[in-house]
């Protein structure tokens, strides 16, 4: 295990947070600047690079044909994977995705899946036999914290822009030919906070995550629903804190949705 973060830096972040200050000068509830690029991978059905401050992730979608789950014979599915590439940070290791990456992927997946933004029934090709499975994988290209939100934004945009592959008469994919788009009925987004020195910080950087006693992510939709929640790391939150974070999350994600709508 590599660790390039110094204990003294962590202590500095905690001391600053106690005075309601952050190491990069942001307000406690201030998000870093978001930049969005789309369509870089021609082989993907959709692809997006999201830059959140210095954090950079690339997401890509491949639509594939699979068999339905035994209990949902008329429904397709999605599968989200996350990988922290060793090229993205000195502390990232190569190899199979670890626990952190599995949690990250599952929380991003849940926010979208549970919002019912994607109608899985529309992903059915032949009931009981053939369905669409949307494999979305996102990779960290430069890791500077809050991969939950960066991954969530990149995933949502990738699904929004996804082209559906064309099928031939035997329901096999015709490569590089498309018919229509995957339509989403909602725009779910994750918003993530950490607790450092007893204070709540929106959109944590890498060092802030390392300094955190607890983490909280909430998936929200534009029509007022919560679609996912995840409390992480050892510490705890009060109900008051949770409710406050949910309130900020609804407001903050609305700003991001406006930016996404401009693409």
């Amino acid at each position: 295990m590599r660790s390039t973060i110094l204990e003294s830096e962590i202590q500095k972040v905690i001391a600053l947070a106690r005075e309601e200050k952050r190491i990069d000068g942001r307000k406690l509830d201030e998000m870093r600047e978001i930049k969005i690029e789309t369509g870089m991978s021609e082989n993907a059905e959709g692809s997006t690079i999201v830059t959140l401050g210095k954090t950079k992730v690339i997401a890509g979608l491949k639509m594939d044909i699979g068999t339905p789950y035994p209990d949902n014979q008329d429904e397709g599915s999605i599968s989200i994977g996350a990988e922290n590439l060793p090229l993205a940070h000195a502390d990232y290791e190569s190899g199979r995705p670890g626990n952190d990456e599995v949690e990250l992927a599952r929380v991003v997946d849940r926010a979208i899946r549970e919002s019912k933004a994607i109608d899985f029934k529309k992903l059915c090709i032949i009931e009981g036999e053939k369905v669409w499975i949307g494999y979305l994988d996102f990779y960290t290209l430069n890791g500077d914290g809050n991969l939950f939100d960066a991954g969530s934004i990149a995933s949502l945009i990738t699904f929004n822009n996804a082209k559906m592959p064309k099928l031939d008469s035997e329901n096999k994919i015709i490569l590089h030919e498309y018919s229509g788009k995957l339509k989403l009925s909602r725009q779910p987004l994750l918003t993530t906070f950490v607790k450092v020195g007893g204070k709540i910080l929106l959109d944590p950087t890498f060092i802030e995550e390392k300094s955190a006693e607890a983490r909280f992510s909430v998936g929200t939709t534009e029509d007022g629903f919560i679609s996912a929640m995840q409390k992480g790391i050892g510490g705890s939150f009060t109900f008051e804190e949770i409710n406050k974070m949910i309130e900020i999350a609804f407001k903050n994600s609305e700003k991001i949705r406006k930016q996404i709508a401009k693409i």
Binding site: R2, S41, E42, N43, A44, E45, S47, P86, S94, D137
Partner: protein
């Protein structure tokens, strides 16, 4: 192949994508794109898009991998799941492992590894979109990332694909050409100043005469790639107008001081 007509480059004098036989696809390189890395590069080569990042020299981990006489150059070549027409399963496959190995060996030759005993130099390359020739794109990008990281090197490594398709010798085969019935694919990487070969693989059937001819085309193309690499590095490290002025001012001061003395 969608093309029903028989393609014959000897007769057509032109390739399926309109290129000349010895013409490379457009190449674009940006140096220093990954802030966390000690050195990095992003490279577009036709449809191929790759990122390369270098970390090190740093402590070799696991500890038993360290070599007391030189740095260990660790290369990891990977492809994102969506970089190919048919989704690739996450995790390295045998192809990724082989490519990582040959790329590492190609770079080890040019790095002054003996200057950094007991350390590792991690070189990570990730393909995010592909269309034949991703390994030479990665080797070219990795070499730029190493230079960006300030790792002492004997020379750059410049690479390209060469080979044969549709009855003619060509450079930089694309996917349609790699799928030709008579396709020969030869990834080649050289040290452009000494013309030493550090990467060489071949898939297909070729006569000695054809090899002699096509290898010459390869050296020429690698040198073209080298020029693009140099330009990309200069773009990052060359001083802007403001920087040039500062240097001029500093030089002036030293001149004045000397005069005073």
């Amino acid at each position: 192949m969608k093309n029903e007509k028989k393609v014959d480059y000897k007769k057509d004098k032109k390739r399926l994508d309109g290129r000349k036989m010895d013409e490379l696809r457009p190449i674009k390189i940006d140096v220093g794109v990954i802030p966390n890395a000690d050195g990095s590069a992003y490279l577009e080569w036709g449809q191929n898009k790759v990122y390369a990042a270098v970390y090190g020299p740093r402590e070799a981990l696991p500890k038993h991998s360290a070599d007391p006489l030189k740095a260990v150059v660790k290369v990891e070549y990977r492809m994102t799941s969506f970089s190919v027409p048919q989704r690739k399963r996450p995790g390295p496959n045998r192809r990724d492992q082989e490519i990582s190995k040959v790329l590492g060996e190609a770079l080890a030759k040019t790095i002054f590894v003996e200057q950094f005993p007991n350390t590792e130099i991690g070189v990570y390359v990730e393909v995010v979109d592909s269309n034949a020739g991703s390994r030479v794109a990665c080797l070219t990008a990795a070499s730029c990332a190493l230079a960006d990281a300030g790792i002492p090197m004997r020379d750059m490594v410049s690479a390209t694909g060469i080979g044969k398709a549709f009855n003619e010798l060509v450079v930089d085969l694309n996917k349609d050409e790699e799928d030709a019935p008579d396709a020969v694919d030869i990834p080649i990487g050289i040290l452009p100043n000494s013309e030493e070969i550090v990467l060489l693989q071949l898939d297909g059937l070729l006569t000695i005469k054809e090899w002699e001819q096509v290898s010459k085309m390869g050296v020429k193309s690698c040198k073209n790639v080298y020029e693009i690499q140099k330009q990309a590095l200069k773009k990052k490290f060359e001083l802007g107008d403001a920087g040039k002025k500062i240097v001029e001012l500093k030089e002036d001061k030293t001149v004045k001081k000397k005069v005073k003395k």
